[in-house]
Amino acid sequence: MKKQSFSQRAKKDFRRNRALYLLVLPVLAFYIIFHYKPMYGAIIAFKDYSPGTGIAASPWVGLANFTRFFSGPYFARLIRNTLLLSLYSLLFGFPAPIILALLLNEVRNKKFKSVTQTITYLPHFISMIVVTGMISNFCLSNGLFNDIIVLFGGERSPLLQNPNLYRTIYVASSIWQEVGWGSIIYLSALSGVDAQLYEAASIDGAGKWKQMLNVTLPGISPTIITMLILKMGSLMSLGYEKTILLYNASTYETADIISSYTYRVGLLDQDWSYSTAIGLFNSVINCVLLVISNRLSKKLSDTSLW
């Protein structure tokens, strides 16, 4: 009874809004073809896949690929490195564009503001290989950073060979590269804050600082929280590109992350099933993190993705 009524309702709705359905069709097709269909390939994580025999015909191996990863000698280190690097990136990298946006928002000189904005978001457009090339040159024992260290009375040392510095270099350079670009979305949110609220706050005697705390931040908090949830969802999926360009065997201890390990083992050795298994494990963790952070945010602040 209920089913029929649903199909009747659907029919009616379809008749009424067929133009809208038509509009959504390409998007739907895109997701089905490029996002859902490839998911079928994920089953090779449970198989001993070889391209010659194909996905369907390759023999099942159960959880062998997962146990190989979990019982591998580097499992704990990879998880730790990935999580710590992500966490530091989040801890320092996430507030940075917000702070920059808040600062820029207070700048009254239009020209200065636009010049600063341009300068800060330009690094976003430099290709990763150039950025890492610059970093590795600056970090040499006779490079720029060491010149600065010597200027302040320190001693020269090869910075990229020090596992203790690797995370700092990684996170700081990421902030340098993305802070301007990341601030754009907050700047646009800031422009949406009602000017009357500022007026009211200043009449009530709030200074710039109080205005920022009580008007600006609450005004853009939905944006901040949405961005945060999205960030949480990709906590485990740090890309390998920057890592493989920056690390070397002497910094594996802190630098080797899941994706760079997968790159070395999976892609270079063409062990597709194994790398798919690791990728799948990653995605599941990410998905769980996303759901949890969304739940939390819903409870605490009424803002959520769904």
């Binding site: 097709a29 010659g52 596992p163 065997a249």
Partner: protein, 549 residues
């Protein structure tokens, strides 16, 4: 009403398209599977050969697709091998049209993987085929490439003749099962096999009144003098991060060990980094690193940084190739410092006057630039003929010297490069102009000729390099191109992945001093825990099978 129909048509079309796309992948895989069953036995493979040939006929003008990495000396001036004089001449001589395909620079192995995963293969595939996961035999079993025995016997008289005349090469390019899988790149002379060695500033040595060092102790004295008297901040600097240069470490060889597997005096394969000699080598390097005799940035050095240090005098010694390193550096540095000169140093020994034992050496079949015919190839005869050309007389000259009258002339029976190569009118370097006309200066499916190298080296000290660096017993310790069985190969690569990561990490830590050398025994213990013994077992079994070929 009509509008509704249109909508229905569009909708069903979209649905159909989505379904088709969904099936596409599976269809493709089925196709590959069929290819597999056909090549299951070589008999079936050859019968298919005949039928395909009857259908299309050879040299019918259909282009063969040919995938290979584009050498950087070619890509400096051309975007496709088919545009080079070499590529055009090859097609003209064989009458076969070839469409060359190239992956982006330095992405060869990634693109190769993706191509295999995708299943759409070009007709001819140039690759280091022994690196195929599971070995070349697996590539045949997977139905990706043809087993070539019948094809070579039937269509390739030149290669057949060469292999019959050189049984040691013949053994290298077969699988344990006796199957041919590629048209190999072969170094035609033993002197082409030692290419890496030590070099240092000759002008500094003369100025300091020192001899070319031959022992570890003499090296220490020279490096100290470079540091103290010449102000070198990184006396010994080389591209440590580059695999082949790290492997060929002359100072490790001095202690009778190396970074890889080697063939011991007992005829068995050993793993260098787990042996006592390796500890002595690490002690030496740790000491030298502490004395600032070795580049402090060792672990992160890139080629451009090393080049800058050598040519500017921050470094005085290096490890590298006579051509691409030594020649390039001398030519660049004499522009500003006319006295600048490098000299080759022999592989060092511990005791003065000893003969160096181990050294860098390639196998005559160095596992690079070899071409397989894939199961996508429709015109096998044309493909085989295209490949066989290079192993014949004419092809050999073309691949090594280019076009007679244009890139070389026969002077007293010696193919001599013209000014187009040696003093290129467009100002190209010799390496670049060579790469336009020949493949002899890098690799490919042919036999490399030593006469190319004799002319490629223009500086006297380069010409001596083969003699100086070759004065070892390296060949005795070199592991021949063995392959684990298909079943063992996954286990082997899993073990070696972990071991190599651990070895690289610990080696650097020992050298940099992050880890004390007292822990060397612990390190060896961990290597064994990671499965070293099993890896050695697999390697030695593979060696037995190789010897039985």
């Amino acid at each position: 009403m009509r509008k509704k129909n249109v909508l229905a048509v569009i909708l069903s079309a979209a649905l159909a398209a989505a379904t088709l796309a969904g099936c596409g992948g599976t269809d493709n895989k089925d196709g590959l599977q069929t290819g597999n069953s056909q090549t299951g036995s070589s008999q079936a493979g050859s019968s298919q050969t005949d039928s395909t040939q009857a259908e299309t006929g050879s040299q019918s003008g259909t282009a063969l697709t040919y995938w290979c990495e584009l050498n950087q000396n070619v890509s400096a001036n051309y975007s496709n091998l088919g545009e080079t004089p070499f590529g055009k001449e090859w097609q003209k001589e064989t009458g076969i049209t070839v469409e060359f395909q190239h992956p982006p620079a330095n992405q060869g192995s990634e693109q190769f993987s993706l191509m295999l995963a995708d299943g759409e293969l070009p007709d001819l595939l140039e690759y280091a085929w022994m690196n195929y996961p599971g070995g070349p035999e697996k590539a045949i079993k997977d139905g990706n490439i043809y087993e070539l025995t019948d094809i070579i016997n039937q269509y390739c008289p030149n290669l057949r003749k060469y292999l019959d005349e050189n049984p040691d090469i013949d053994r290298m390019i077969k699988t344990d099962e006796g199957h041919y899988y590629c048209f190999p790149f072969i170094r035609g002379d033993d002197r082409l096999c030692n290419t890496i060695g030590l070099m240092l500033r000759q002008d500094w040595l003369e100025e300091l009144d020192m001899e070319v060092p031959t022992t570890i102790d003499e090296w220490h004295d020279v490096l100290v003098a470079f540091r103290d008297k010449k102000g070198a901040t990184a006396p010994l600097s080389w591209e440590y991060t580059m695999g082949s240069l790290t492997s060929a470490n002359p100072f490790a060889y001095a202690y009778g060990t190396c970074r890889e597997f080697y063939l011991g005096d007992d005829g068995k394969i050993h793993f260098g980094p787990a042996e006592d000699g390796y500890k002595q080598y690490l002690e030496l390097f740790h000491q030298w690193y502490g004395e600032k005799l070795i580049d402090q940035d060792l672990a992160s050095l890139q080629l451009d940084q090393v080049s800058a240090k050598i040519t500017s005098g921050q470094a005085g010694a290096s490890i590298g190739w006579a051509g691409s390193r030594m020649g390039t550096w001398v030519n660049a540095a004499v522009q500003t410092n006319p006295d600048f000169m490098l000299v080759c140093a022999p592989y060092p020994t511990i005791n003065k006057g000893d003969q160096p034992q181990m050294g860098q050496i390639d196998n005559r079949y160095p596992n690079q630039g070899s071409v397989a015919i894939t199961t996508s190839c429709k015109d096998i005869e044309a493909a085989a003929k295209l490949m066989d050309f290079a192993y014949g007389e004419e092809g050999h000259m073309m691949f090594n010297f280019g076009i007679e009258g244009e890139s070389y002339n026969m002077i007293d029976g010696y193919p001599t490069y013209t000014d187009v190569i040696l003093n290129n009118p467009d100002g190209w370097s010799v390496a670049q102009s060579l790469s336009a006309y020949i493949r002899g200066n890098y690799n490919g499916p042919f036999v490399q000729d030593i006469r190319y190298l004799e002319q490629y080296y223009t500086i006297d000290t380069q010409k001596e390099s083969n003699l100086i660096w070759g004065a070892t017993n390296a060949a005795k310790y070199k592991v021949p191109p063995v392959t684990p069985t298909t079943e063992e190969s996954k286990e082997y690569s899993t073990i070696m992945n972990e071991i190599n990561t651990y070895r690289d990490e610990m080696t650097l830590k020992f050298i940099l001093g992050d880890e004390s050398l007292d822990k060397f025994d612990e390190y060896v213990k961990t290597l064994n825990e990671l499965g070293l013994e099993r890896a050695l077992e697999i390697q030695n079994a593979a060696l037995d099978r190789y010897n039985a070929r």
